[in-house]
Symmetry: D2
Subunit: 439 residues, 4 copies
């Protein structure tokens, strides 16, 4: 069982086994076990019954195919799963299975668990991505690169500060996901319509026990048709995805033959065109992340749920959340591979910078020239010099001296003198990165 | 292999086996075989080589898991698949495999094939859905029902004309999908950058042969990064989905305990609440179709593809198209089950209509009263009578006679006399349905 | 200027004037003024120049139509706006306008400002919505209502706990939006490629001053193509929207003629059907919120931005963020109107509950019966009694006594005894609501 | 009134005035006039009354702001519009206004009209785009360009065939939109619940007359909650958008400083960086088209409409369809400007091709070498030669002769000999383009 054609591309890395049928079955069974144990703790379920139940809450004992088929009759996996669990139990324990619960309690709590477990893996991978980016930011603190805006050469920057920007983005997005995972992923336990009627006035106590057992937050009250918490998880995943998409898009552009400033450690080969250095991992990150924003819309759009249990939109969340976790986890895994071995061609970066000509220093020159010519004239003269340089294919400097001979006396800065706060930004990004947690 | 937890819900019916790994592998192999045979037909490939190639183009001989894993290195299944195919061939045939093709040719043509084959199954299921709806439209031609607008009781209609409206929608949506399947799903064959350079000036001939072999349309020219055709398929699926969603939504509402005018043939049971009659199939149709529109957006958003082959957005299409086919096919299957056994409670429909009171006949009464009171006064009097009836909880008729004694002489219509063109619409819908094809 | 055909429906309430052309112009001008003042504070811009600049940063002096037209040439409003600002200034101040800034600094900081200002209005409206819901939860603590799952009658609940669930959802979603507004909406100030080259090593100081001036957060470093912060705002708006959609959907269903448990304070009239009580505000909330999730996807999908400034996807954010704010603000305004005057028909709720029959008490009866018959037999007997009752149209109780005469001795609970934790949930929801802030 | 900050960017060109408040008002009034005239034609409305009604159906007489405000009470513009229309009429005509119609009839028919009229403008602009592309395809039939796959240099192509591919895509997408406009945009006329009860059995005749008056298709039956037709329009617009996005994305990349093969006729200027040649129109096309796919999802997702009139999702269609038309029309206008003045740097294209080295001819060389070395050895030798060339930075040819001295005798093709079917594809694209209509 290694995932067929699609999973290695779109459900790559540790997230797959945390979101597959076995993971879902185990999560649902964990919830059933937790409810039984909570009942025992509250004195409502005999300890032996709870133990018996928990001992059979092992995913490998159950047949996902069969449960899937039988789920059609009730539009939920829980009816057949509970039947199969009961069938494995002695009569004395059977009556304590699923006590006071409704199917939605099991599926929602399991969705929180699956999301939490997959998110832990995603956060770990994002940690690796950050580490790579921090390393690149440090290593390329002084690596000059031409900045590009609207795909046009603009003014100098460094590859280090580019990586620092990516680092901040990854750390902030991961921080948001981490917060949701710790504070917001909650147990669901409300019974048929959210009142936990079976438990009389002891429902709230039970909810707390179940949350304890599962390591999930205890909600203010049941949230059967109030989907804020799970939607926060979906949104946080979507934001992580956007950051990875931005980085991968830039890596693919920078790795393109026409720029060629970076290459993946193991670029893809093309049998027909053996000279190509395909940015395969960047391509896969883009392929995964492109699918994510509409899935977030699917989740948000599912929030309009009817009365005490939705007739369809809730049931649309389960595969969507699974797909979100898989795609974002897979994107993180590919991004990790993309960055861990990234080859940076410092010379090519310098060459591309030089190719851009001295017009990219126009702003810096204008500032220096202002001391001699005054701010207004300096601006005007530089603009004209740039125009001439671009038209004639000469340097701006030559045009400048023609226009204003005083310019010859002004020391002309190199690009390394035009980097402003680049170094400071790197320091800040690394400092934030090294802090225990983002808020 | 029966599909685990998810497929019975979200990839139900014949569409699943037409979109699984085996289906994709077979489709890619069919394309390789077709290219070899086309080469033979053009005299460019020895007949025996083509036969040898075709004879090994059998999905079951290949290992989807292994190909999936190896696909990561090149971001395409085709590199490992072609390697495995070659490994199964004698040296004399090996050089003729994949001749002049690029990976995208294989995947795109396979995507057209998978889409075509799955669409055939979907259209067949939609045919069943239509047949059920035509039967309901015929059977309930005279079944009175209260029309509801903004969820409020409005004026009388018939359940027959409601079903006729659904029938027209299904037939039109299926007609659109059928057109795309027949006219627009095309072979892709362009070689590395679309010029089919390997074949010199014989490329166009080869494309025609390959299209012939595969039963797909031959495009004007390669469409590597021009995604109109595949996007038309996605859009047509999205439109089918919307129609099924509308029908299922209404069935769920009508089956709700507060209306209770219909019930599914095999309503879902709830162990905790055995009195419930859950509209399970309607729920599943909604769960499937809710996921579809964002996937169409994913496809349309993937159209912005770079140069001669996209660096990520093309690769996002494969799982998305697969998911679209599965969800729409599954929705059709559930809709078919939902409608095939639909129980219509004619008495409850009449009861609900009567509960709405005679105010629902206001418009019809006003028309009749106008002959006596004139159009303007009739309107005013009826409006006032309705207001009084609603306020006082009496009948509109009583209020009317109070306001305008002449009203007592006007024959008051029953709801069956207020159905306008309902019967004619049913006739038209059935007539269109019985025509061979929608245009 | 009252907004034409669309705004009263889709950009209703205070949010409109905070997101219109004037609001955007003022926000951009506020940013220019803040940069000038920050420069003065740092000693880089003469105080008089800064004052002169700030004095002309008044939206009403500028022509949005004209700036819009001229923006086409540069794909940004800032080029013409800065030109117009300069034209209003004495030569001595002109050179200090927009110092060291790039267009993106102005637009992004303005987008943060517009978002912050509109969000303040949205949060205020959500506060009104919460107040209404808290009032309803309190008032209807003991108002019995039949709970509905999959649109089927399930077991009893109270309208108070339903409102408490809505309250928690609104408060949590508003809390998330509030957090983003206070902590995450940040100034953008990076110059051409994010290095603030003009300011040498003083850039970070300047960013802090600008943030101070604008009341926005200061980012770790410029975020030109790292869109986490603005995407968090979009996501938080999307989550608010989902909550409002859920409430409005339920209000529309409950207001439907077949349920009729609530009505809007000023229901819509229909000239043709004067008896209708259209849930107009609920309809408008649904109309607004239905548009939101795909717009969130547009924002998240725009995150893949190239290099140091995106060539199109950034420019797609401006109208999208504007639309998001308008739709969510409008939904909140309509929801406020919907709930502020909501009429609750307590008698109809009771009637509908009674209509559901005593089968809705099956679970509660089984618990009581277990004391006499044992858990297993009690369950079996109750299930059979429900089945008979549903089949025969009698009460469950009668069937029960037939099946197990001992049942006659068991006190049969009324629905008010079957509410479990409903009261406790209301208390908790109100307690959370009364706390200063959500965590 | 020239559109404020946003319209010049996102609602540019002729589409704006065809989708603004005036256009919507006029369309609704045209529908009211058509219904009156149809009534007269059927003998149900006095001719003078119909004439009187039609004479006041002039948008400029009505106040969009006021109607917008009053629309909140009924969630439709039609109630206040009809009131205002009646107020302008003599008593004798008043009773014939809006006869037998429901608000949805007016809004849906108006939406069809607005869509039709805006689509006509969009199709005209797309015609200009096509003409430009056809010209470029013809002019650059022999302009060599390096093909790029996954952003890597691949093998030679021509800029002519690239433009031909764009041409086919535009023509096919426009063809699809044209078909929907002509065949599918239909009148809506059904009365309160679709039965046209007011007209007894004459409803179908009336529908035909109204369709006639408006130049729209007559539907099989009313489609109040069956949204196939309008969704087909949305989908066709989405497909056009995807094509424009792909072209603009490529233009922006090709215009980037690192490739510099094309430039817009009037590139955007940057005051701070006067050397830049911003691809402003490409940026705006991308900004517009990025917003489109989620809007298509909004439309498709709105298809699940309740009973005989939806409580919110229908009302979400009006602004969404308007936005779709504006964005796609605007994208077409910007694309037209982008392409009409496109400057193609043939020398730079050749330079970039040459920079790619002779490895891009590997496939062509292998074919020729196979005649001497046999297919298998030729492939192996070429692959090794490419590897050496890439490693050592020499030419493939040199490496080849080292490896296989016989290679020296094989004539080495120039890139112009490696273009396969490029010319034929251009011919085909132009031939299809010159045909009257796409099928």
């Amino acid at each position: 069982m290694s995932g067929g054609l699609f999973d290695a591309l779109y459900a790559s890395g540790p997230v797959r086994s945390r979101t597959d049928d076995r993971a879902w079955l185990q999560a649902m069974l964990d919830v059933e076990a937790a409810i039984a144990r909570a009942g025992a703790r509250a004195g409502l379920v005999p300890r032996e019954a709870a133990d018996a139940i928990a001992s059979r809450c092992v995913a490998d004992e159950y047949d996902a195919d069969d449960i899937g088929q039988r789920a059609v009759a009730s539009a939920t996996w829980v009816v057949p799963l509970v039947a199969d669990l009961k069938a494995r139990l002695p009569a004395s324990a059977r009556g304590y299975v699923h006590l006071g619960a409704t199917s939605q309690d099991i599926v929602d709590s399991a969705m929180s668990l699956v999301t939490a477990r997959a998110t832990d893996a995603i956060l770990a991978t994002l940690g690796e991505v950050s580490t790579s980016l921090a390393g690149l930011a440090r290593a390329h603190r002084d690596t000059l690169q031409i900045g590009r805006t609207l795909l046009q050469h603009a003014v100098p920057t460094t590859f280090g500060v580019v990586c620092a920007g990516w680092l901040v983005a990854v750390d902030e997005a991961a921080g948001g996901l981490d917060r949701v995972r710790r504070e917001r992923l909650a147990v669901q336990f409300g019974g048929a319509v959210g009142t936990l009627a079976t438990y009389g006035d002891r429902g709230p106590q039970l909810v707390g026990y179940v949350a304890d057992e599962l390591g999930l937050a205890a909600p203010t009250m049941p949230w059967h048709t109030c989907r804020v918490r799970i939607d926060e998880a979906a949104a946080a995943l979507g934001i992580v995805s956007g950051v990875l998409a931005a980085i991968a898009g830039d890596v693919a552009l920078l790795a393109g033959s026409d720029i060629a400033e970076v290459a993946e450690g193991e670029p893809g080969v093309s049998s027909a065109m053996p000279h190509k250095r395909n940015p395969t991992r960047a391509v896969l990150v883009t392929a995964c992340t492109h699918q994510v924003p509409p899935l977030v819309a699917t989740m948000l759009g599912a929030a309009a749920q009817e009365h005490q249990r939705a007739a369809g939109r809730w049931q649309a969340e389960w595969p969507t959340m699974t797909a979100l976790l898989r795609l974002v986890g897979s994107a993180a895994t590919h991004a990790d591979a993309m960055l861990a071995g990234l080859r940076v061609d410092v010379d090519r970066m310098r060459l591309n910078l030089d190719t851009a000509g001295d017009v990219i220093l126009a702003e810096a020159v204008a500032v220096r020239l202002a001391r001699v010519l005054g701010r207004t004239r300096a601006s005007a003269v530089v603009a004209e010099a740039v125009a001439r340089a671009v038209r004639a294919g000469t340097t701006m400097r030559a045009a400048l001296v023609d226009l204003a001979p005083e310019a010859a006396t002004v020391p002309f800065p190199g690009p390394e003198a035009c980097l402003g706060a680049a170094g400071e930004w790197i320091d800040r990004a690394l400092e934030c990165h090294d802090k225990p947690t983002e808020g």
